[in-house]
Amino acid sequence: MLQVLLFASLRERAGWSERSLFWSSDYATPRAVWNLLELGSLQGISIAVNQELVDADQPLQAGDELAFLPPFTGG
């Protein structure tokens, strides 16, 4: 299983905030999972795996928490 999280505007666009996916070698990277979600371009989106910011091509493992994060606007 993969736990997929969306935040803020991405969550609104998708209509959900959290989903479990069966892990498969078809979506073994954040980029592959993103393409599956059909939420537009990955440009400007940050990616966290198990609460660490990572690259879109970082290999995923079963059990990972994968989060897609729109541009940060805090402070």
């Binding site: 609104e12 729109p70 606007t73």
Partner: protein, 142 residues
Amino acid sequence: MGLIHVEIRLAGFDPWQELAQWSGHAAAASVFVGRVRSTAMDGRPLQALELEHYPGLCERQITRMAVQLQREHAAGAMLVIHRVGRLVPGEPVVLVAVQADRRGAAQRCSAALLEQLKHHAPFWKREWCADQGIWLEENTPL
């Protein structure tokens, strides 16, 4: 090296009261307080500002940036408090405070931490005007 205290708050806070509790006796302390503006990015009156964060990652990112900057600037104790939830105009959003032995170090470290926090910590703002919420696409310019 001083303590680094990072806190995300759901409840409102009084920055000066927080500083009174935190305050050490270093020769220099540089503080920034950011509050909710009364107008939205597009100039309309703002009802409220909603702030969301990614719990866990957010605190860890800020702490990591603070540790790095503390080392770079030879700074002492650092304090970051950041609100989340629904805020009204005038309410404090963020407090950043840095102690150091030199004024330049305290000022530069505090300003650098604020910029990093704005650009590299997972917070998101939504402006509410006339009962409609709009997620901000980017931060205010420096």
